[in-house]
Each structure stands twice: as structure tokens, then as C-alpha cells.
């Protein structure tokens, strides 16, 4: 078919320059290296905190010990000045300060203040605050019991009873078992959405080059020359589409293979992945074509392209999880392809899903693709 010849022609052109296919191979690798080193190591999931103990009492030590046992925190004991320095230089995610008088106030059934300083953009700090609050609450209950005991007991040192109570209250028992919708055991990690998000951004940026190629073809006259042949506009577009699709697939495949070999990223079910990625690529290429049909100059293309990419990524939950935005925004997110792609990816990567589980996002992505492509096609026909 003529579209296939156009596709082959375009691909040959792209691959004729060694710089082009080196780029094609190198980009996904660099991308992967970057994200792999950030998300690959488990330590990125834990928060590094410093604790400043101004009370230096039995109870403050007990609190610090308990915090050490929390596996989601990496705790360093330090003084005020050092921890402030480290915090300013982004070496720490936060600093917990136990003020003087902590033990005294707890023993008198008062509520001592603990201060928490944290980096502004950190997503999991509210969880830390809550669990810290919870732990002190628990401690206060134990102290109240111990103090009550000392009132009636022969031995008036309540701290020994407190220690007994702490020890008796089992270590980290399993209070909850978390499973996914498929009954697979899962751990709730705040950053799992980001890795899916970045793959999507990688694809979005390929779209920019899509629009660029078409505009270049129009400007250099290749477009009109091709149209003087017996090929129709739709076949021409289809040919270009096919070439972008294939090149996009090659790059994404490299990203997946490389990340799974070097960083042991588990991508999940292969069939599901192939379908999801194809749907996403079609959608993104379609969007690129639609934009290319609307703009005339490269300036417009950059401006509109970057606006669309950044705003749709923001709306689609790529930069921050959709769970924190108000309901209206969550509804708006459904009109953006990224949110559906995210759902598909997280299902495959984090929840161990397969093709049947991602039918909904895939269908919607294909629908987006159809809308974009028809729009582009219509515009091209009119011109």
C-alpha cells in the first residue's frame, strides 16, 4: 500500500543519518539511567530524618528508639545546628525536634509540643506527622497507666512500669494486610505512580518531534510534492503516522528492556503492555498530527506543543497524584489521555494486572487517538 511506502521512505530518511539513530538509541537509555537511579533503589522510598533531642530523658530516648524501628524512616540523631544545615542542603527530608520538658509534660498528662520541619515539596510528610502523633499518643497512654500504677504501688518509680508496658506490647505486629484488586499482596508506596508518569512524559515528548517532522515536510515542499503523486492526503498522513508509531515503539522497547535488565524494573504482563503502549503511541502520535495540522510556524508549534504537554501532564496526574486534587479536578483528569495511561501502567506494573484489567484505559486511549486523527485528517483535507 502507498502508506507503507511513505512510511518506509520516512524511516529510511530518519535512519540515514547516523546521528539520528544514535539519538534514537541513546535517548531512552539516558532516560532510563536517570529514572532508574532515582527510583531503582529502595532507599528512595524511605524518608531520611534527623531527630534533635532537647529533653534527653528516659521518655525521649524511648520515643527515639521506637522511631528507629519504623522501617519507612531512616533516622539520624543530631543537634540543632547540624540538622538545620543538612536540611537546607537537601540532605534530609525533615527534622524532628523534641523540646525540653517532654517527659515532664507527658507524666503530668499534658501535651508536649514536638516540632517537625520538612522540605516543602515532599509528598509523604503528612504521613510521617500522623504516625509520629500516633506514636506519642500511644506513649502518653502508657505513661498515664504507669503513673497511676505508681500512685498505688509500693515502688513509686513509674518509669520501670513504663518499660515493662512498652516491652509487653508486641513488636510490629501485622495490623493490616494490604492486597490489590487481584488479591496480590502489595505495598503502598508513594512514588510508584511517578515511574509510570515518566514513561508517559517520555512518550509525550516524542510527540513534539512528530509535529516538527510534518511541519518541516510542509515547509520544505516535500509534502506538496508527495501530494502531486497519486497518493491521497489520508494515505500520506497514514504513512507518516506509521513511521512515527514504529520509531516510537523502538524507543519505548529499548527503554523497557534496558530498565528491566539494569534496574530490575518489573514491567508486568507482556501482552497487556504491548496493547497499552500501542494505544498510547497511537493517541500521542494522533495528538501530534492534530497539532501539526493547526500550526504554521515552528514558534507556534513549540508554544502550543509545550503548553499542551505540560498542562495535560499536570491535569493527568503525572506530576502529583490525583488523590490530592479536588473532585472536580479529578473529573477533569478523565478528559486527558495521561490519566488513563497512568491507570493502565500502574495496573500492569504495581498491581500485577493483565490485558482484561486494562481494557477500559486502552479503549479510551484508542478513542482519543481516533478523535485526534480524524481532527488532523479533516484539517489536512481542508487545506
Amino acid at each position: 500500500m502507498k502508506a507503507i511506502s511513505v512510511c518506509l521512505f520516512e524511516m529510511k530518511r530518519t535512519l540515514s543519518k547516523p546521528s539520528a539513530y544514535i539519538l534514537m538509541l541513546v535517548m531512552p537509555i539516558i532516560f532510563t539511567l536517570l529514572f532508574g537511579s532515582i527510583f531503582g533503589n529502595a532507599s528512595s522510598q524511605t524518608l531520611t530524618l534527623a531527630v534533635v533531642d532537647k529533653d534527653k530523658s528516659h521518655l525521649s530516648e524511648a520515643l527515639i528508639n521506637r522511631l528507629h524501628q519504623d522501617s519507612t524512616l531512616k533516622l539520624k540523631e543530631s543537634n540543632e545546628r547540624t540538622s538545620n544545615e543538612l536540611l537546607k542542603n537537601h540532605k534530609l527530608d525533615g527534622v524532628i525536634t523534641i523540646e525540653q520538658g517532654f517527659q515532664e509534660q507527658l507524666a503530668s498528662s499534658l501535651s508536649p509540643k514536638i516540632y517537625f520541619q520538612h522540605q516543602p515539596g515532599s509528598p509523604s510528610t503528612s504521613m510521617v506527622k500522623q504516625s509520629l502523633n500516633q506514636e506519642i499518643n500511644r506513649m502518653k497512654l502508657q505513661v498515664i497507666a504507669a503513673v497511676e500504677w505508681s500512685k498505688s504501688s509500693k515502688d513509686i518509680d513509674w518509669s520501670s512500669m513504663f518499660d515493662k508496658i512498652s516491652k509487653s506490647e508486641g513488636q510490629t505486629n501485622k495490623y493490616t494486610t494490604v492486597v490489590s484488586a487481584n488479591n496480590q499482596k502489595k505495598t503502598l508506596s508513594g512514588l510508584s505512580y511517578s515511574s509510570a508518569g515518566f514513561s508517559i512524559m517520555f512518550v509525550m515528548f516524542m510527540m513534539m518531534s512528530v509535529t516538527g517532522v510534518i511541519i518541516e515536510a510542509k515547509n520544505t515542499g516535500v509534502w506538496s510534492r508527495l501530494l502531486t503523486t497519486s497518493i491521497t492526503k489520508s494515505e500520506l498522513l497514514l504513512g507518516y503516522l506509521l513511521s512515527f508509531f514504529l520509531i516510537g515503539w523502538v524507543q519505548f522497547a529499548i527503554l523497557m528492556v534496558f530498565s528491566s535488565i539494569v534496574f530490575h524494573v518489573v514491567w508486568g504482563n507482556i501482552v497487556g503492555l504491548i496493547v497499552l503502549i500501542s494505544a498510547l503511541l497511537l493517541c500521542v502520535v494522533g495528538l501530534g498530527l492534530a497539532i501539526a495540522s493547526m500550526v504554521k510556524t515552528t514558534e507556534q508549534q513549540t508554544a502550543i506543543g509545550s503548553l499542551i504537554i505540560v498542562s495535560t501532564c499536570m491535569l493527568g496526574g503525572v506530576y502529583w497524584p490525583l488523590s490530592v486534587v479536588p473532585t472536580i479536578m479529578q473529573k477533569i483528569a478523565n478528559f486527558v489521555p495521561q490519566s488513563w495511561a497512568m491507570k493502565g501502567f500502574t495496573n500492569l506494573i504495581a498491581d500485577g494486572g493483565a490485558l482484561p484489567d486494562i481494557l477500559q484505559p486502552v479503549t479510551i486511549l484508542l478513542a482519543f487517538a481516533a478523535v485526534f486523527l480524524s481532527f488532523g485528517l479533516l484539517r489536512v483535507r481542508i487545506q
Binding site: 502523633n133 497507666a145 497511676e148 509487653s168 494490604v178 513549540t302 502550543i304
Partner: protein
């Protein structure tokens, strides 16, 4: 000066391109509105509870279980966040989760309450619907906090009473002590006091909204590096560049003019973004506008310098698109515009120091939390330095390829 003429020419081309001009103004405003609407609930401090629909399969009718459901899940305080839908079989629960009728499924196993009263724990199963990790985390925290508190109460009371009994207290004494103790503990548990308070890192607390506003500013201004670079490349393609070169204008003026053009464009976009975020979504950019403007100027200089490198090292606009777009994304990531830098491993943190946007972002957040001019000297020098070095490298390369 001739370079100013070149700069004005570039700027007027951009302004006359109606669509591009509209985009230039529109982009920062649209980004601001999306940012503001999305992060409305996260202002100041991120302690908002996500809207969660729970499918509850309660297999146990012990008072402690009922207390969990009524006192915690159905608590009036959380009414705006949590909606509890009761289900009566595991199958129904699975169905609810699959059909997305609920975000999180909670199963309270048989004897949960009894075990709890004896200080033992039977795990509660939490089933997470697709993509509802955040909500599930919230429910998990609520459950674990309830269990831990109840455990604390029962275990402490038990320990105390058994010890006093071994000390020889009579049954009647134990009973009254026990009653008093349970009363006090119960009151304390209900009170749910707060102990942890936020303290700002600098003088003022920087909210998530402020952080993201600064991060977005740093990121989308980087796009201008691409725009500036591409305009040079397109001029080269159109041969207008060569025509400029054979005119009496010397090469340096042309390059300076291009540099100034990008610089002007970047500053205008930043000022629009600054105004939009400040007036439309009330982002506080700190108490010192002078500091913000200085950093913005320095950052624009480095961005303009980068645009020269883009133009010099890429051959066509097409490559500028794909490579440039990728570069911007990589730089934004490294610079902390997407994930806070503190999450990065050691080596990446060092690399992030090379990116101009990380310096811009850090300076912006420092200004927001209140800082002195002294602490801004280093970032200012580095940003301007990057701009100058990039321009020099770009021009040298230009000379190489033109000869």
C-alpha cells in the same frame, strides 16, 4: 546598538505571530490556573484527607469493632472524606472493588474485637482498587492507629492491674483502680491530642503550592531555551541568518541580539507567571520582590545562554525538538521540579547542582521562606556564570561550523 535592533526584530516577529504571542501569554496563565485548582486542598500543609469510599465487610460484632466503625470510620469529623458502604459477603466486596463502586475494601475478621481486647491482633484485610494507593494508605493509617491505641489502653491496664495484684492489692481496690484507670485512658484516647507541629525551615513555612509554583516557573522557562535556539536554527534554514552575516552587522552583535531576544521573551513570560500566580491563586513569592526579580534575571540569562548552545549544537529544528524537549525534561527532573531533590541518591544530588533550574528553584523557595541577600550571591553568580559560559561555548561552536 545593532544587537538591540536584532533583539527587537526577534521580539516583534514573535509578537506579530499572533498565535505564538497568545501562547506566550496564555501558557503561564493556564499553568497557573491548573496549578491552583489542583493543589487547592494542599495549601499550607498537606494534611487533607482524601475522599474515600470504603466497602466494609464487618464479620465481627464485638463492641470494639463497632467502636471502630462508628467512632472512627463514621466519625462526623471525617464525614466529608469517608463514606462507608456496608457489604455482607467477600464476593460482594470484590465486586464493589472491581466495579469501582468503592476505593478501598475493608474486612474486619471474626473475633477481631475479642482479640483486640486481649491485646492480640488479627490483621484487617485492606483491598485496594486500581490507583487508589493514597486512599488505601489513609485507611490503613486510621486502622493501625485505632488498633495501636486500643492495644495501648488494654495492655497497659492489664499490666498495671496484674502487677498491683501481685503486690497484694485486694479485689475491691483493684476494681476501683481499674475503673479509674480505664476512665482516664479512655478520655485520653478520645481526646486524640495533637503533639506534632510544623516548624518552617527558614523564617516562613513554604507550602506545597508555593513550591510547585516555583518548580513550574523553573521548568517552563526552560522551554524558552528551546524557543530561542530554534529561532536561530530556523533563520539558518531560511538563509536569513547568512543574509544577516553578510550585512555590515558583525557576528557578535547578531549573537548578542539573539541572546537579548530570548532574554526579553523569558523575562516577560516570568513576569506574567509571577503576576498570575500572585493575583489569581494568591501564591506568596516572599516579602522581597527585588530578590525575586534579580534571580529571575539571572535565570533568564542562563536560559538564554542555553538557547545558544541548542542552536549551535543541533543541526535542524527537528533535532532541537526531540533532543531539546528531552533535555528540558531531564533538566527539570534533575532540578527538582518534579520530585524533591532530597529523594535523590548522593551522586544525582551532585549532578543536580549543575542544572540552572535547581539553583533557580532553590533560590525561589529560599526567598519564599525569607532569606538575606547574602545567601543569594552564590546562586546569582552561578546562574549568570552558566549563562555566560553557555553563550561562549555556543558562539565558539558557531564560529567553528560557519568557517
Amino acid at each position: 546598538m545593532k544587537s538591540i535592533v536584532v533583539a527587537i526584530k526577534d521580539f516583534s516577529i514573535r509578537i506579530n505571530d499572533r498565535r505564538a504571542f497568545m501562547m506566550m501569554i496564555l501558557m503561564p496563565i493556564v499553568l497557573t490556573i491548573i496549578l491552583g485548582s489542583a493543589l487547592k486542598g494542599v495549601m499550607g500543609d498537606s494534611s487533607s484527607a482524601p475522599k474515600t469510599i470504603i466497602a466494609l465487610y464487618q464479620q465481627d460484632q464485638h463492641p470494639l469493632s463497632k467502636q471502630f466503625v462508628q467512632g472512627v470510620l463514621e466519625n462526623t469529623q471525617l464525614k466529608n472524606s469517608i463514606v462507608v458502604k456496608n457489604v455482607y459477603s467477600q464476593k460482594e466486596l470484590n465486586q464493589f472493588i472491581h466495579e469501582k463502586k468503592a476505593d478501598v475494601g475493608v474486612v474486619l475478621p471474626k473475633n477481631w474485637g475479642t482479640q483486640l481486647a486481649n491485646g492480640k491482633t488479627e490483621p484487617v484485610t485492606i483491598k485496594v482498587s486500581d490507583g487508589k494507593d493514597f486512599e488505601a494508605n489513609f485507611v490503613q493509617q486510621l486502622t493501625e492507629s485505632y488498633v495501636k491505641t486500643t492495644n495501648a489502653v488494654t495492655a497497659s491496664a492489664k499490666m498495671v492491674l496484674s502487677d498491683l495484684a501481685s503486690q497484694g492489692k485486694s479485689g475491691k481496690e483493684l476494681k476501683s483502680i481499674g475503673a479509674g484507670l480505664t476512665n482516664n485512658l479512655g478520655k485520653e484516647a478520645e481526646a486524640n491530642a495533637s503533639f506534632v507541629y510544623d516548624k518552617p525551615v527558614g523564617k516562613n513555612q513554604v507550602s506545597s503550592l508555593q513550591y510547585y509554583a516555583a518548580a513550574m516557573a523553573a521548568m517552563f522557562l526552560l522551554f524558552n531555551a528551546m524557543v530561542g535556539g530554534k529561532s536561530i536554527l530556523s533563520e539558518r534554514a531560511n538563509l536569513t541568518l547568512s543574509r544577516m552575516m553578510i550585512s555590515p552587522t558583525d557576528r557578535v552583535s547578531i549573537m548578542t541580539g539573539k541572546f537579548l531576544g530570548t532574554f526579553l521573551y523569558t523575562m516577560v513570560q516570568f513576569l506574567i507567571f509571577l503576576g498570575a500566580t500572585h493575583y489569581i491563586i494568591q501564591v506568596n513569592w516572599g516579602s522581597n520582590p527585588g530578590q525575586i526579580i534579580m534571580i529571575a534575571i539571572a535565570y533568564s540569562i542562563s536560559v538564554s545562554g542555553l538557547s545558544m548552545i541548542v542552536a549551535a549544537f543541533m543541526k535542524t529544528e527537528k533535532t532541537a525538538d526531540s533532543l531539546g524537549g528531552m533535555l528540558v525534561q531531564v533538566l527539570s527532573l534533575l532540578g527538582g521540579s518534579m520530585i524533591p531533590i532530597s529523594v535523590f541518591p548522593e551522586t544525582l544530588q551532585k549532578i543536580s547542582k549543575i542544572t540552572p533550574n535547581s539553583w533557580a528553584l532553590n533560590s525561589f523557595t529560599n526567598i519564599m521562606s525569607g532569606t538575606s541577600w547574602n545567601s543569594l550571591i552564590i546562586p546569582l553568580c552561578i546562574l549568570i556564570g552558566i549563562g555566560i559560559i553557555a553563550t561562549i561555548i555556543g558562539s565558539l561552536r558557531f564560529r567553528m561550523i560557519s568557517n
